[in-house]
Amino acid sequence: MAQLKQEIAHLPRFSPERLRIEARKEQRKARLLTLFIYTFLIVASLPIILGYGWLVLNSFSETLAYGVLPKGWTIKNFRFLWELPSRYYPDLWRTTWNTLLLAVGMTIIMILVATPTAYVISRMKFPGRNMMLAMTLILHSFPGVTLLISLYYVLRSLGLLNSIVGVFLVKAGLMLPLGIWIMKGFFDNISWDVEMSGLVDGATRMQTLYKIILPQVKPGIAAMAIFSFINGWSEYIYVITFIQKKESWTLSSYVNSIIGDFQFIDYGLLSATALFYILPVLLFFIFTQKYLMTVTVGGTKG
């Protein structure tokens, strides 16, 4: 103790002068850091800002001079909202409806499948529990898109070709690993005491799941819903592969068709369609993003 006292005796002591100088230095450092961070964010985001800015400008202008500068304001690029680009396009609203069906269907399947699975993995005791989680990671290593042909055969034998249902089932299957990880993270964070309370209060395990656990993982379900909705909304390759009827098209096929074999360069129409396509998810996101920012992958903290 005495030694300790001696040791600390020669350390620099509290001095107003030093304090003031250092405080000023710290303040300058803090201001620089803030400046640096904003600069970083803005510079790093430039491609996105410019790219999407171009998209917006394009959609409201007649042409772009030098491909960059918009000339002549117009809303004619949005004419697809009230007329078909040609008679070979399916109805826009029907296509939109199909897209919605796909995205919502996939979201629902994800919730119905990933939630109970994650619950079991997170909170039930049974042999092979670790295996299950390991397996979800391994499942993710299946390159879904290159299994295209096999999936085609599977859907064919299930009689699900040419239906949105088939597509969203496949999509949900491929997103399952992510859904399980996200939901597991949320289930992990629920207090065991609360679930035990439910049991003691006379609930079965199933009842605790419905009445006590699920209401508490709503943010998780919301987060997962956002992920799957967005994923389903922008799906292209499965739609175009498993759905041959144009009536069952979704917006992605619509946009692809407008862009064509990269030979079509009506950027105005393209941008307008793309905007129309992005807007719903963007709105959806803005209203739900607070849930997205609560996603954890679980595990005990620390």
Partner: protein, 433 residues
Amino acid sequence: AAAQEVITIRAWTVGPDTPAFYRAENLITAAERLNHILEVVGADIRVEVDADFWTDEWDSFRRRVILASEEGDPDVVPDILVSSHLDIPVWSSSGWLAPLDDYVQTYWESTYQDFFPHLWESVSFEGKIWGVPQDIEVRMVFYRKDHLRALGWTEDEINDLARKVEEKEFLLADLQALAKEMQAAGLVDYPIVHRPTSGPDFFQFVVAYGGDYYDPETNKLVIDKAALEATLQFFADNVKDGLTPSGMTTWPWPAVHRAIAEEGTAGMQITGGMWFWAEWQRDFGIPEEDLWENLTWSLIPAGSEKGRPNQLGHPLAYMVTSPSHHKDLAFLLITLASEVDLNTRHSLEAAKLAIRRSQTAFPRFLESEYLAEAAKLVPHQIFTAAHPAAGRYATVLHEAIGGVETGALTPTQAVDLVIQRMTQAAGDDLIIR
């Protein structure tokens, strides 16, 4: 009117170039005409066409056809398909198409005898006709006239270029020399550009260097090592001399079009297609006068004494699927859609050649100076091989060109690559010489 039975004929057609939409539209018009006749004769059936016009990519169109055909569901498989004649060997040998000889025979006198005879070759496979030629085009070289003028060429000299090419007075080496002049004069960024994507066009250079890619006798693909290497050397040299950008195979299509047609930052497009004329007007909004003012074209020049100048045609054809319940009607519609006036409006809109003799005398066709001019190249037409692996061959050749252009491969190595890949793909159906 009495109770009518309405028969729906479904057709899948493909652009993907948007001006080609009459491939679908003509069927619809044909149905209207047919219905008119049916009404006049008091028949109690009517025909309705449910037509699809694909503007997404070729590969997704083909995938769609293949998967639908494999599924074989008559509710999904269309009655009529429009696709490349190259698909005929593949699809017919899979049993997805109906042979059309009898039908063609039926309407021979009224219609089909009028078709240019050589077109039937392109739609035949193993002795049967599987398709009705729908259009045909010319693939040639486009030159910027303004640059030629800037190099001091007179109008006469410019107008004489096509002839010089045809008569082998202007070879690929001269084309390279011309490119270097443009380059030196600072007129262009890159004097020579070509299509970025794979396509049959590149076989033209093999022919230009005196080689061959297909042996119709044995129905086998041919790899002519010397001509192939010369072709690859040509592309390699262009890049080495800075005439072609080394990443040409990664350019987006619109950039190529703009460079040659709109801005003139390129001097020559050596894998041009005559239908570009339509796209440039319709999609890029360039007035036709400007095109006339700035562009001229020729055959692909010969590369060597042995070689020959040429242009390639890649016919598209109407096909009837084998599961179709209404093959007769489908074919009737195809026949009606191939009427001179209908096919001509397609030719005009999409800038394609005539497929019928009488078309060339058809007033509206004659009105088009462009079509008339382009049609002059027809005698030098070559076709893509009618072999199931021909598509693969085109892809491999394009790869090899990409390889030499980026410097990843020497022309010799590239030839080896082509041989290796084609041996894998075609097996015994390959002659290497």
